[in-house]
Symmetry: D4
Subunit: 157 residues, 8 copies
């Protein structure tokens, strides 16, 4: 089966963040494959995985000197979404992913925000997938209803 | 003609950053429309512009308390790319755009990096546009040749 | 009954901060209404709530890319007080609320400082409410006595 | 004549920021008095000025270890708006003003944002001044028209 | 008995930091008095305490928008040592104390470093107290011996 | 003649900051000696200078990884005042000087604030020098008069 | 036996970081000696240890105002590797070690990253030690296999 | 002739920093080769250059999301020295280079500090090159004499 999204983690310790992304992709019925591959420890494998894949969108999740998203982007013309993982500093992963040089873009989401990375991937895929767009619309509606019911619980406290 | 990308600037002073994006879109032959609309000064207009548009990708460019990209994202299910604009602080626009709450994604690029915002938009559009993908491939090749020739100039200095 | 203050939270998780504000308003006898409404997840509802309200002062409490206070301010000419909520970064919410563009003011208080937000609202209301001003004076006196008695306990330790 | 706003600057070098505030107050027809008084160099004078004044709102403008807004707030129950002034660090003045201890509020606006400080003061005064509220409404409308005309100029470029 | 050092805390919660200072002063036999007095909640009391004291050195300990050391310095010509207290941000107290305007000095020590504040006070007093200077010399020697014995324990591990 | 203060600069480029200190010491009639000696380039010379000196107070001025004030403090029991010098980062020198380990104190003043370093040194010397204390009192009075006259110029503008 | 590496810790509390370095050196069979010596508390001892040693590479581990690596570098022409130790701030140790003045280099590794400090030392020693180079190659291969097996565990989850 | 050092720049704009390194290597007579190769724009070329080289030490100079030093390190077991280049943020390049994951070390020097990168490389090479060690000793002596003569000029001013 064709995988639409490839998730790459820089390290096993990034799993809690990738699980948020997987959970959204599962909920919205998007096929994905998932790998651990380090830009620094296994640079050749990152290249091979990216070049061999038919995925339309790449999600790269990494902490510290988070070179992975940029390195993925250096090997593909497909959109790459980067997720910085929190650690002792936070700013290291955020700036490493965000501040790409002009020419090789990475769309960065917030710290540990695997959920938004997956939703952004779905929005991209939904440009040519009406069913997925409908699921995204439903997802957003459920969020809004959740905010409303939270508000009512609070007011009637 | 159908506009594929909408560029929204939070303020006239963000023009130097949008010009970098426009230059890429012009070079790669992607149609776009461009507006100034402030999330704080003209919130209703932001909503109207976003909801009335058929654009497939939104580029929102803003500085300071850069709410614009997030507000654009709150009114659409299309992918939104945010560009923080430098100013007295830099971190204000970067974090305002990057740290979106789970559920409403914005793909953020680096400070003032209008070029990467446009390239990311093109990568998204190229998923269903082989001609554009070819142009992106050419663009990247030219960048690589530029690096090579820079290297040779330096070495033979 | 007329509500003098509207408290809006960006998310249910901001409740610990709003409780500090509520506690002050309860103690000083100021009527308020309270809602959860997200600038990003429920933008239309934020607009409706603000425009429908007769409140004289708005307290907007939010974390991360805290667009809520600015969005509230974009829909009203009443004074808006913003409270940044702490999280993984802190600077994100602080700068998002503080660095409003010229023209749309938000009066920001310190991180998680729901108490000061409520006191500032009371100071504004007390400009035309002598009874409330008296209560504020008493409140401040009690604080001072607390500092004095703390000092004495420490000295006689 | 009764002064409605007192502007206090910590130093003569803060004048460019106070001029932005004065310009708004002049435009909206709000009476104000203006003084230089340093929390560190002339602490007694700050106290005297604040206690002797009938102003309804205080604007305190200061840089570096910007104690002035907090010290003004310590001597009054009227609302105090603090404006951090940029310098070699920026964060010094911003955090000194923003991070007031619970009990003594200061509503802080953005770096060098004298304009928003004055507008927030006007919003507070407009709660009991219909004419001023009308002027604020006009002011905001002019801002919106400016954004629209900027947008049109850009689009027709 | 004449008190040589006055310790002022901005809040009861700063006690763990003042205890480090007290412990040094007790160990080196320096007389001190200790008070809680808030620059923001009890400004007049800070002034009274400072002006009424015969202390030769002031230690002012405060967190958040730590105005206390600067306000103490504004009321005396005696040397003032400021100690920033850690909290949600750390930089707020550090910069508030450190970045005093030219003319009113505060000698700042590191975050929560009540010990160094007391030692600096003792070094100042020891300029005219040979016995205290001797005690400081002994104290430093004990520190050096501690480093040496730690080193030996580690090496022989 | 006995030198009461030793000023040590880490580099010739720190001269603009030391000149502010010299100007105060000259104005208040305090004798000082001045040297350039780098903690990293000439460590032995720093030790020799400090140990050979009869100065009562040391002013150490340095930028970047500003080890000089701490190294001076490691060789003396006299009070050491550190002045961080601004550069590409600012935080490097500030934190290097401020965050001394418990046991070896340095009293740090604000960025480039040579003036406050000299004034703090004078306050320390004035503890046993009534004439100097009088000069400090006069100096502070002149500052206050300057603030007053600045205020009057501004008000009568 | 000749020691090839000297590890110096600024304080006993840095032991968890030095243990990571020791573990690598033990695993790769490199001889080392280890000492605690504080740049601020025992400056003379730092000099003696460094000057008396035949080590080819120095590892200096320190937190807060981490002067130790720079002071070691000031006493030797051998390569010095600095390891910043995390604490209340992190940036203090990182910048103190990293921002050395031109002329006296320290090669800094990441926060608490004793492992990389030891590996860098081994890479330097391996330039003239083929056996050690082989061990480094094996070590890196094991890391890569670990990433692969982590990836397979994750994929087959 | 055998090149002992390879300098790689991420972009032509990093030339001012590499020139500082070249100047030292020229002065100390160390052979080097120099290339521009971007980790993001020309990832394969970085790999080829590194793997084909016989250099003993690599100097990698890059700004923004400075992946280059880490990517160089991922392709070699030789020591890699990273130099962050200043830009709009500074922290981006510093943290990207410094915060390498455990296992792949990069020895980082200060911002724009090409001089120290070259000196560190020379110290490594001097471990097996007595002549180079002598030149380093002379170089350091000249620095010390420069500090002394600067000090004398200042004192006799």
């Amino acid at each position: 089966m064709l995988m639409q999204v490839m998730i790459i983690l820089g390290s096993k310790s990034d799993t809690p963040v990738s699980e948020k992304a997987e959970s959204i992709l599962d909920e919205l019925g998007v096929e994905y494959e998932i790998f651990i591959a380090s830009a620094h420890r296994t640079p050749d494998r990152v290249k091979e995985l990216v070049e061999a894949s038919d995925a339309k969108v790449f999600l790269a999740i990494a902490g510290m000197s988070a070179a992975l998203p940029g390195v993925v982007a250096s090997h593909t013309l497909k959109p790459v979404i980067g997720v910085p993982v929190s650690g002792k500093l936070n700013m290291d992963a955020m700036l490493s992913i965000l501040q790409m040089p002009p020419g090789i873009p990475v769309g960065t989401v917030g710290l540990d925000n695997g959920k938004n990375a997956a939703l952004l991937a779905c929005e991209i895929l939904a440009l040519t997938d009406k069913e997925l767009e409908g699921k995204l619309r439903e997802y957003r509606k459920r969020m809004q209803e959740k905010v409303l019911s939270d508000s009512e619980s609070l007011a009637s406290k």
